[in-house]
Symmetry: C2
Subunit: 140 residues, 2 copies
């Protein structure tokens, strides 16, 4: 079902500062910056690698306010890994298959993710404490 590790989603207090760190320390390159009001984040995607199953990124996330999900995460746990995104061929099909296994979906239907992707989150309590995202990349 999983085609790739699409991205590691990392919560931070200061997006520009963290982009600078990942660029200068690890040589990653920003390929997209977006504000996602629905998710309450300002974010950047940094390219890591290409593969048969698509591209892998580091996603840096800064909350738009303390009341957002990422804002609350930062207040409770501090900076760090917020979620893991896996690439899938068809997000709706994957959601149905996973729900049939008894895993609760946070999203009832796919929503808009980074760089035009269709995404859905799974409930971390049903995935061993890992907030898990399904990512269907846009058709080329």
């Amino acid at each position: 079902m999983f085609l790739r590790i699409d991205h590691v989603g990392i919560a931070c207090h200061n997006l520009e500062e963290k982009i600078g760190f990942y660029e200068s320390t690890f040589g990653l390159v920003v390929v997209s910056r977006e504000v996602n009001e629905a998710q309450g984040v300002r974010e950047a995607m940094l390219h890591v690698a290409d593969g048969e199953g698509g591209t892998s990124y580091v996603q840096l996330l800064e909350p738009l306010s303390p009341e957002t999900a990422v804002g609350k995460f930062l207040a409770k746990r501090g900076e760090g890994v917020h979620h893991i995104g896996y690439g899938v061929e068809d997000v709706s099909k994957a959601m149905a298959e996973i729900a049939a296994k008894g895993v609760r979906l946070i999203d009832e239907r796919p929503r808009h993710g980074s760089m035009g992707a269709s995404i859905a989150f799974l409930h971390p309590k049903d995935v061993g404490g890992v907030l898990t995202e399904l990512v269907e990349a846009p058709r080329q």
Copy 2:
């Protein structure tokens, strides 16, 4: 510097149970099981994807005892993402380049990781709260 997201390291209480979950829910396949006494873990690597820069895995980690690093992590934070491993060409060279940027290394020299890899951990306080591992895969 980074060739791939080598793996997402996930801490869990019961390795066999979690392997079963990742296999049955997401269709991942275990390609290696090891006990790493030095790191105090029983672990499994599950294949996700192959790419130009190498292979990406989910790594499931069960502590050998509560006194290990992963045991303490579980007691403090519960199950979830423990670290992120990135593939590099030459772990010693990457360690030197990263240390030169002011990031503290947990390991002074490379040590043995999963599946014959040479690895080193970077201090999470210097990487925005993310315990970050460098992974040099063994020569084929």
